[in-house]
Amino acid sequence: MVSEKKETGGSVLFKVMQQHGVEHVFGYPGGAIMPIYDALYDSNVQHFLCRHEQGAAFSAVGYARASGKVGVCLATSGPGATNLITGLADALADSIPVVAITGQVPMVAMGSDAFQEVDIFGLSLACTKHSFQVRDVNDLAETLHQAFAIALEGRQGPVLVDIPKDIQTAEVEYAVELASNLVKQKSASSANVDAALTLLSQAKSPVLYVGGGVGMAGAVPELREFMSTTKIPSVATLKGLGAVDPDDEFYLGMLGMHGTKAANIAVQQSDLLIAVGARFDDRVTGKLAEFAPNAKVIHLEIDQAEISKRRFADAPILGDLKTNLPALTMSLDINSWQKHCSAMKHDFAWDYNHPGETIFAPAVLKEVSDLMPKSTVVTTDVGQHQMWAAQHMSFNDPSEFLTSGSMGTMGFGVPAAIGAQISRPKDTVIAVSGDGSFMMNVQELSTIKRFQLPVKIVLIDNEKLGMVRQWQDLFFDGRLSETDLADNPDFVMLANAFDIKAKQITKKEEVSQAIEEMLAHQGPYLLQVKIDAADNVWPLVPPNTANHQMMENR
């Protein structure tokens, strides 16, 4: 039975959201979105007020990544809308399903340089998967249904819907109906399975190269099934971490610029790469012409445009990983290669030896990882602490490690943790941050306070923009330009100002007890970990260098 009654554009928005299972949204009100906020007042959708629209966008990203659902954020016209842009760019680059709703000035004022008017529709072109501007309230429901469908279809991504204020107030006959089908499905499939099976059966030193697409496709079980049959040595990208069982005997860890020595050497020596939901990013390949020089490539992908974009695929397999991974599952005769990879994994294991009293961040993050409960979600900001977290923490699912991979957005960690905590209220959520990144969305501590979210923050503090400082030391003759942050605020006092319990530690002997205290605390907690500003992230593959020619601290 179809019910029809008069609704406003604003109330239609929330009715469509509820049809798509949206329970939580993140946003910030303002003039041109007031009718939507008025409709929110009568809606069952729960709104989380952030303290900056960028925080709302990253919370929507964190929510989506931790839950597998679409993240939703709302902002007003003009500066509200432009403040979403960085979050949308981040979501596009990491293929995260987000729907952003922006208010717009009334249609009669559009194009007149009105107060708080910006062409967000035009601005969105380069940072969304698709975007809409609604110009007739009769099109609103259909447009919103399409926005949710497009965000989730194929390679996922952000969709923006710009809604002029008079559309929000206009009355419309609203019929509850099932979400419409997309105009067209953009994801195609074509598989050259026979060619891939031949390559697999002939390979003597194959490596499975696992990317973020595995988690996005919900294909972690299929990947692990493939691995348990093939016993193939594997490596993961930053966004692929968690897809492989961290205890897998032949899992060599992350590859690329800050990858493990075992992972990078194995890939360079391989005769076959099976790339699964990965795209040969420059941070993964190092010098492209010398990446895995003797390897043929089987590329399993959902996005046709990624196949042979940076590296030729001998056997491209386009389509859903959940279908295509099982089609390739076979037992392999690679005994001596497995032994070689195991030996490298053992020989090049992490060394936590760090003389002196000062705290060693990799050891702290390893201990947090060992002590944190199952299903903990870790978010990071961007820089040295991010790479240390990727190297030294272990995750059982890609939804447990949320990091700004492709865009590398500082300020991601705290708002993403807020979104993750709201989507997974029973799980522990830890934001690993650095003293540079933390300050970029520090206002979101107020969101933590407002909703009493028990987010834990591990703030790795070297009073520097550490990664840039490391590069200045290594590649710019030690000319330390604008990377000193010795005048940071008192972070413990800052956290306390938001009713967040906080503690600073400076010595190795304080680490274990501080981590236990943080994890045992019921509410939000900030642990400030002071480290030596000279500590670097190792290994490091310098720019335009082959991955086996890494710099090491040995």
């Binding site: 975007s131 067209k184 953009k186 445009a305």
Partner: protein, 85 residues
């Protein structure tokens, strides 16, 4: 430089031309010619886009084909490969 012509069918949406040109520029192609006229079918556009680039035209074809307002992209068979002096 390679010179190519693409024949594109698109939905006549307000931003379809901006989107088409934005992706073309971002992916490293210069527009050397463009014609556009309403198709015989309702609300569709027929676009002929000539581009030059050092990149493979397949690369642009795949990126344009992903756009939701673009229905179909055909690489003109008469495209010639030339090298600039």
């Amino acid at each position: 430089m390679n010179q190519h012509t693409l024949r594109i069918t698109a939905h006549n949406q307000p931003t379809v031309l901006e989107r088409l040109l934005q992706v073309t520029r971002y992916r490293g192609f210069s527009v050397t010619g463009m014609t556009m006229f309403p198709s015989n079918e309702a609300n569709l556009l027929d676009i002929e886009l000539s581009v030059s680039s050092e990149h493979s035209i397949e690369h642009l074809n795949h990126q344009l084909s992903k756009l939701f307002d673009i229905n179909d992209v055909v690489i003109d068979g008469k495209s010639s490969q030339r090298y600039s002096a």
